[in-house]
Amino acid sequence: MKYYRSHVLIGINETSIAAGVHAFVKGLRAELSKAGLSDEINILETGPLGFFGKGVCLTVYPENVNYENLKAEDIPELVQEHFLKGRPVGRLMLDTVGKFSPKFNYESRIVLRNSGIIDPESIDDYIGAGGYEAFEKALTQMQPKDIVEEVKASGLRGRGGAGFPAGVKWSFTAPLEAEQKYVVVNADEGEPGTFKDRLIMEGDPHQLLEGIMICARAIGASKAYIYIRGEYKLCIMRLQKAIDDCRNYGILGTNIFESGFDLDIEIKIGAGAYVCGEETALIESLEGNRGHPRWKPPFPGVKGLWQAPTVVNNVETLANVPFIIAKGAAEYKKYGTPECTGTKVYTILGDVAHPGLCEVDMGTTLRTIINEYAGGMKKGFKFKAALVGGAAGVILPDRLLDVKMDFSSLNQYAAVLGSGAILVMNEHQSIVDMLWSILRFFRHESCGKCAPCKNGTQQLYRLITKIKKGEGTMEDVELMQMIAETMQQTSFCALGQSPIMAIRSAIENFRDEFIAITKEIS
C-alpha cells in the first residue's frame, strides 16, 4: 500500500453535489498535481463526514481539520498554505473548530464504522475493511437457527422507532415452511428531522447489503427488497452499484460461496407517503396498492408480501447485524445498557453549535449528545427544548436533559426514542408554533383509512391553528389532548397513535406558554 502524508476525505452527498463538489475535486487534484503533491496527499471521495457544513466540506487527516463551504477559487490557497506549508487556512475552517473537536472518528462505532473513511462505491474497500466476512461465516460456519439465536442474544432492537427485538422477529419467520420468504428493508425514511438511514446507505451501502444477506440466510429468504424513497437518488445509485458489484463477485446470485444458498436483492422506489414507514402499509405499496396499513394479526412475519412470510427491518437495524455475527453477541452487548444494547445513530439539528451525525452508546444522555457531539448550543442561544424522534416524538424540556436515551428509560417519562432525530430549539422559539407545524404534518400524512386518525388529525390542526392565532382557550388545549388520547386508543396504526406524544409533552412541560397565548373563558 502506498504511504500518504495526508488524507483528504471529501463528503459526497446531495448538498455537496449541488454545490459542485465534483468540479471541486477535479480542480483540487489538478492543483495538487501542479504542486507536485499527488503522491503525498490522498483524496478520497466518501460519505458523511459527521458534520453538516455548508456546501463542499472536507476533513484532512491526520490533522483532523474540517473545512466547509469551499469554492473553486479557494483551491490554490488551500494547496499552498495547508498541503504545502502545513498551515491550515483559518478562514475556511468550520467556525467551531478550536473550541470543539469532533469526536466522531475517535468513537468505537458499529453502524458508522466505515462511514467517511472508505470509498462507499468500492466493494474492494469494504472487503478490505473486513466486509463480507460475517456473511461468509453465517453461510459456511453457522446454521440458520444459530444466526437467529446470536441476534436474539445480542439484544438488538429494531431501530425504526418501536424497538421490537430483531432476533425475536426473525424467530417467528425462520421455522415456517414456505415456498418463498422475503426480507424487506424499510428505507422509506420520512420522519421529519431523520435522515440517519440516508447517511448510513450513502456512507456504507455494502454494510446494509451484508446485513440483509445474513437476515435472508437466517430466515431462509431467497429474495430481498429495499423499499427506498424516490428522493434519495444518491443512495439508490450507490446501492445499485453495490448490488451489481456483489453479483459480479458472486456474493449475490445462486449457490453463493458453494453453500447452495441463493439470494437476490432488488431496489424498489416509493412514491412519497409517510405512512409507508408502517410495515404493512409498506408491503401494500410494494404490491402496487395505496399504502394503507393492514390488520394485524397475521403479522408480516407469517403473512407478508404476497402473503408469504416476510421480515421487515429498518436500515439501521440490519446495518448492526454484520458486527454481531462477526464479533459475537457478547462483544455487541458491551455497547449500550443491559436492557438496550448496542449503539444508536442520531441526527442532531437546530440551534446547536455543530449540527451533525453521531453514533453513541444506547443510554447516553441528551445532555452528553448535545454538549459533546454537537458542541453545545450555538453561541448566544439558550436551550429551551428538544424534539426527540421527529413528529412522532416528544418535546423534552431542560429538566429531562439527563434522562438516558434508550427505549426503556424514555418509556418512564412517556417518551419515545423514535427514529433518532434530535431537533434542538432555543429560548426564543415558540412551542405552540412547533406543535402547530407537527400537527399540520400529521394532517397531511394521515392515510385516511380509519376514522379516528382521518378526522382526528383534522380536528387537532383546526384547534392548534385557533390557539396559535390567540383565539383559543385552555378548554381547547384540553380538548386537543382528549382527542389525541382517543386517537391513541382507537387508531388503526401507529400514525394515529402518535400525535399524543408531542401534544402531551408540549402541554405538560410548557403549560405556561399555552396559558399565555389562550384567552380566558368569559
Partner: protein, 151 residues
Amino acid sequence: MYKEICAKYAPTKDNLIYILHEIQDTHPQHYISEEAVQAISEYLKVPENHIYGVLTFYSMYSTKPRGKNIIRLCESPPCYIKGSDNVLRKLKSILNVSVGETTKDGKFTLELCACLGVCGNAPVMMINDDVYGDLSEEKVEEIIDKIRGRN
C-alpha cells in the same frame, strides 16, 4: 407512447408504481393523463379506479399538468423552524403563484412537501431532481433567476 413505457415492465400490479413514475417523468408536463391511466389499465388488467386510487394517494404523482420545473419546498418542522414559511412567501411573490399552481409561462410549479431528509441544511427544497439547501429569501431568488435564464 404510453404502451411503449408499459411494455418495459412485466404486466403485474406491483409494477404500477414504476410505470406511473416513468410516465410522469417522461411527460413534458410531468403528470399522468386520463389516456395514460386507460393505457395502464389495459396493460395491467386492473381497473382504472384502482389506478386513480394509487395515483392520488402518493404525493409524488399529479393528475394535473404541471410546469417544466417542479419546486417542492419542505414544510416539515425542522425546515419550518428555520424559516421555510419566509422562503415560501418569497417564492409565491417572485413566481406570482399560489401553492399547487403553475406559472403562466409554464416554467415552474410550486408545491409543498414533507421532509426530504436533508434537514442538516434546512430549509430545503428540491427542483426536479436537485436539492437546494440553506435557503434564504435572497438565495431562492438567485436560484429561480438562474433556472429561468437556463431555459
